[in-house]
Symmetry: C2
Subunit: 226 residues, 2 copies
């Protein structure tokens, strides 16, 4: 469990409305926060009411995505430690009319603020409401970036960018994911990813194996990403 | 020119923060609003500073879209009379990190609030800032709908939906647009639109002519849109 002092300093840092709510509200908010560990792969988006709670990520990565009826998957953005997920509590934001899916991409440690409590607080206090909509606006910007990437970049550029980001993020030169997973991340089809990877291999940028994709010429990949 | 009384009642109705600002601020806001008529086809998004102003649409339709470097066009949403465009004043919203293009799709009459004035007001008054982010959240929802439509619906469904919306909107059974324009609106290519329209014609849903597309079997089109 998280210590009280540690929790207060985290909330103070993450919730910009902290000094705009009363001491009673602060105490109540703390009572309505759970410190939860999620296994990799857990689906965190709510059931029917779509109000799973406001998430403050302590460790791990969340992936926020959409799924079509026939299973097409579109990654909108990822959230990392220190970031807040408000789309998991769309009941807080009356003007957000859509729902997204959220999964723990790695094992995650998350502070979950009860959605109903948070929603009541936002209804009473304009600073809390404004904070919530501001977090949503940041995610709006993330989604617009995803659209630009997916609509306006060709598959080879998207793939090169993805591989570069992954080796940057994990600090290795091997990306241990399947072609199927890559297709999902970059909004394409497995066959297209396999074909494009093969062309990268022929050009000498990557090596392909069962374990994943090994980047052998980062500079070449960088020039292909532009 | 718009009459003062009419302007006040419009602002009162459209700006939910109206009773949260002082009388001085109300007067200053009114002084910083211009009533402008735009010709069809005018580009309304700002130049370098991307802060053209906050738009309150009195008549006409605005189209908000993105354009790739190689000219690919993606319609995000449209705005109609009574609606507010805040993405035309991204300087008001510090957390909005992207820019969009805005064009007058028809002749438009728009109340334009000076972006710098509005930005200062939002910085001083949390109700104004919150109002701005709430308007952005509505547009976020619009964009998510566009993504779902473009990513997850096949071209024939998108095309059927587009034609149905157009005849609904204009209250006729003829849609007087080129295949090129349709491709832009539904996020596809002209060739694909032409081919799909031909299949609609073969099925007996539409007739094609130089003047546009005539819907001859609305029910069939409706069944094809689902």
């Amino acid at each position: 469990m998280i210590q009280n002092g540690q929790l207060i300093s985290l909330l103070e840092k993450s919730f910009s409305f902290w000094d705009k709510i009363s001491d009673l509200e602060k105490a109540a908010l703390m009572d309505n926060i759970s410190d939860i560990r999620y296994e990799k792969g857990t689906c965190l988006s709510g059931s029917d009411d779509s109000c799973a709670g406001v998430f403050l990520i302590r460790s791990g990565t969340l992936r926020v995505y959409m799924l079509s009826e026939d299973g097409k998957d579109l990654t909108l953005f990822r959230l990392n430690p220190g970031e807040i997920c408000i789309l998991s509590a769309s009941c807080v934001l009356k003007l957000i009319r859509f729902e997204v899916l959220i999964e723990a991409e790695t094992e995650c440690r998350i502070l979950v603020a009860n959605a109903n409590f948070f929603s009541d607080l936002a209804a009473r206090n304009v600073w809390v409401e404004n904070f919530s909509y501001k977090v949503a606006a940041e995610r709006f910007s993330d989604v617009m970036e995803a659209i630009q990437r997916i609509f306006f970049l060709s598959v080879d550029k998207r793939l090169a960018n993805f591989l570069l980001e992954e080796i940057e993020r994990n600090n290795t030169n091997v990306v241990p994911v399947t072609h199927e997973q890559i297709a999902r991340y970059i909004g394409s089809a497995r066959e297209v990813v396999s074909r494009t990877l093969k062309s990268f291999y022929v050009l000498g940028a990557v090596e392909l194996s069962r374990g994943g994709i090994k980047i052998v010429d980062k500079k070449l990949l960088q020039s292909m990403s532009k």
